[in-house]
């Protein structure tokens, strides 16, 4: 698949396709990470876009105010988002599910309001007054990755590969989490919480881990977004975007490995197909959520049956969580 994706810009060199694919890589990354938090960790987080903004605003501001090269600013802002998510996690994750949803939503909303209501001039540039976070207009002119100088008009292909690398890394990370110890811990907590907890699997600890690590990749996606679009504005907090991304997870299938990717592909293509009906876009997005939750709760990947490997691990974990030793162990 990676090879196929790498071949795309050479087989279909249309500019529009390549830029749209880059956008797809960014959203797909956000969605795979959100899926980890929501579907695997069971955390009702609505602060994902705030963490994404942390990455893109961090990159933009480090570039704009301190003239950091973006190659440095991008990982730095991702680390910053990691720290921010730790703070949010410490405040929210001790609470029960719905409390987490409301607090994270409120945190995202407050950040948004503080950004757009900020009208005091922090600096002035040729465009006039510029608030610290760019206000409604956002931040631009913070430099780029140097692809334009290196590749000339082919820079969009370079952005494409940057996005692809991002998605590949984030996806690999999500597979490791779902199939690895963290995923097992959460599955154990779901199947038999009492036994899991008495074996030292604390929910808070693992939730904080998954929340913080996925925040890192979410913010990295935000940083790539900043580098790709070369302008960052408060539109990334918009509710429509949140809805669009959430629909991807729900359509694809929450908690599964491939679900978010499938959902991202389906919704990006559908969005392209319904370009002419722009007015109805948000309405359609809104309808998708209840329709899928009610009629197809497993999403599209749930429709085509569970993967063989997944059900095998699930049985194993259930056996362990129920206190039956796996075959061949010494007890």
């Amino acid at each position: 698949m990676l090879a196929c994706a790498s071949a795309v810009p050479f087989v279909f060199p249309e500019r529009y396709l390549i830029t749209q694919m880059t956008v797809f890589f960014i959203w797909a990354t956000v969605v795979t990470q959100w899926n980890l938090v929501l579907g695997v960790g069971g955390i009702f987080s609505l602060a994902q876009m705030a963490l994404f903004a942390c990455g893109s605003y961090g990159t933009a501001m480090l570039g704009y105010y301190f003239h950091w090269p973006l190659w440095l600013a991008m990982p730095a802002s991702a680390v910053l988002a990691l720290a921010v998510s730790m703070l949010i996690g410490l405040a929210c994750l001790r609470l029960k599910g719905p409390y987490v949803a409301l607090l994270t939503l409120a945190i995202a909303q407050v950040i948004y309001l503080l950004i757009i209501n900020d009208t005091e001039c922090f600096t002035t540039n040729e465009g006039g007054c510029m608030p610290l976070f760019g206000g409604v207009r956002g931040i631009g002119k913070f430099g780029d990755l140097g692809f334009r100088d290196l590749f000339g008009s082919k820079f969009i292909v370079a952005n494409y590969f940057l996005g692809l690398a991002l998605l590949a890394t984030a996806f690999a990370f999500s597979v490791i989490v779902i199939r690895g110890p963290l995923g097992l811990a959460f599955r154990a907590l779901r199947d038999n919480p009492g036994y899991a907890m008495s074996r030292g699997i604390g929910q808070f600890k693992y939730q904080l881990w998954i929340f913080a690590l996925s925040a890192f990749f979410t913010a990295l996606a935000g940083a790539v977004y900043a580098a790709d679009f070369r302008v960052v504005g408060p539109t990334i907090f918009s509710f429509t975007l949140l809805l669009f991304l959430l629909s991807m997870i729900v359509v694809g299938g929450m908690g599964s490995v491939w679900g978010p990717l499938v959902g991202a592909v389906v919704l990006m293509v559908a969005d392209e197909g319904f370009k002419e009906f722009q007015d109805w876009r948000a309405l359609g997005m809104g309808l998708i959520l209840p329709l899928f939750v009610v009629l197809l709760p497993g999403g599209l990947t749930g429709l085509f049956g569970r993967g063989h490997a997944k059900s095998a691990t699930a049985t194993k974990v259930r056996a362990v969580a129920n206190g039956k030793p796996p075959r061949g162990s010494l007890t």
């Binding site: 719905p98 209501n117 209840p290 009610v294």
Partner: protein, 292 residues
């Protein structure tokens, strides 16, 4: 002293409006374990229903108010039939209903946008003039909001405490299975709760829009505040929610006066986080022993 009166008046008005919309949310969470993210949408629809009846049809304002009540209840019922009912037996009800109602809320917002356009409109249910307390002019509008809110609160409390329906609602909230075994029609109780909550949300939408303006997105902010109030009081605790709403209205009014409008909400949020670290299930919430 005048400043003080001013803060009290606007704080109480805010608190009254918040209380009305919060009670609905709290009832729904208390009995169904359902976070209704479409609550803001009902608020908006209520405001516009009053506008449509009293402005576009030219009927007397009282009918606008009643129309909001009826439309709100109908919309609440619609949410129950379309999302909550089919999901009731699903495994992750809380997550699923949460996601589904986010979508429903977006649909409501867009329907209003399509019908009435994106521009802000004044709410015609407005009473001009006011009385003077000291040097402060207290608008009749604020007073009527307070009176309506108190009357509605009393009605809701009577309904919950004295009527058969109310007893069924409270029984279901306490223990769903026990209520069902005692012959309570749980599904009907749920439908009633959502209709009641919808009607309350619509009324609060009319009030909020009469102080500010009508716009398709007007529901989002009050809904978020109602949620915060619910969380502070402890989700599902209806009487605690009313007290918290009044306190938070007063706090918001005073922070807005002291620090400016910009930081009112941010400060409120910090306060809430502090409260939740101190008491993770809200001020009036009882920490329950979880049995596995």
């Amino acid at each position: 002293m005048d400043v003080f009166t001013q803060i009290i008046v606007s704080g109480l008005t805010l608190g009254a409006m918040y209380a009305i919309s919060t009670v609905g949310l709290s009832l729904v969470y208390g009995s169904l374990n359902m976070l209704n993210m479409a609550h803001g949408g009902i608020l908006t629809i209520g405001g516009y229903a009053a506008y449509a009846v009293s402005q576009q049809w030219g009927w007397p304002p009282v009918f606008g108010f009643l129309a909001a009540l009826v439309v709100g209840a109908a919309v609440g019922l619609l949410i129950f039939v379309a999302t909550a009912w089919p999901l009731l037996s699903s495994k992750n009800f809380e997550t699923n209903i949460f996601i589904a109602t986010i979508g429903v809320g977006a649909v409501f917002e867009n329907i209003v946008l399509k019908l009435f356009g994106p521009y802000a409109k004044p709410q015609p249910l407005n009473i001009a003039g006011g009385i003077k307390i000291g040097a402060v002019l207290v608008p009749y509008q604020n007073i009527s909001i307070l009176v309506v809110a108190v009357v509605m609160m009393i009605l809701v409390a009577l309904l919950l405490q004295r009527s058969r329906t109310g007893r069924a609602i409270r029984a279901t909230a306490q223990n769903r299975d026990a209520a069902r075994l005692m012959g309570v029609n749980v599904v009907r109780v749920y439908a009633q709760v959502l209709a009641l909550s919808g009607a309350l949300a619509a009324v609060s939408g009319v009030m909020i829009s009469s102080l500010a303006t009508l716009s398709p997105t007007m529901g989002g902010d009050p809904m978020l505040k109602a949620f915060i109030i619910c969380v502070v009081a402890g989700l599902g605790n209806t009487y605690g929610a009313v007290a918290a709403a009044v306190v938070i209205g007063l706090i918001e009014a005073s922070t807005q006066y002291v620090l400016g409008v910009r930081f009112g909400f941010a400060l409120l949020l910090l306060l809430v986080i502090a409260v939740l670290i101190w008491r993770p299930s809200g001020i009036f919430g009882k920490s329950r022993v979880v049995r596995l």
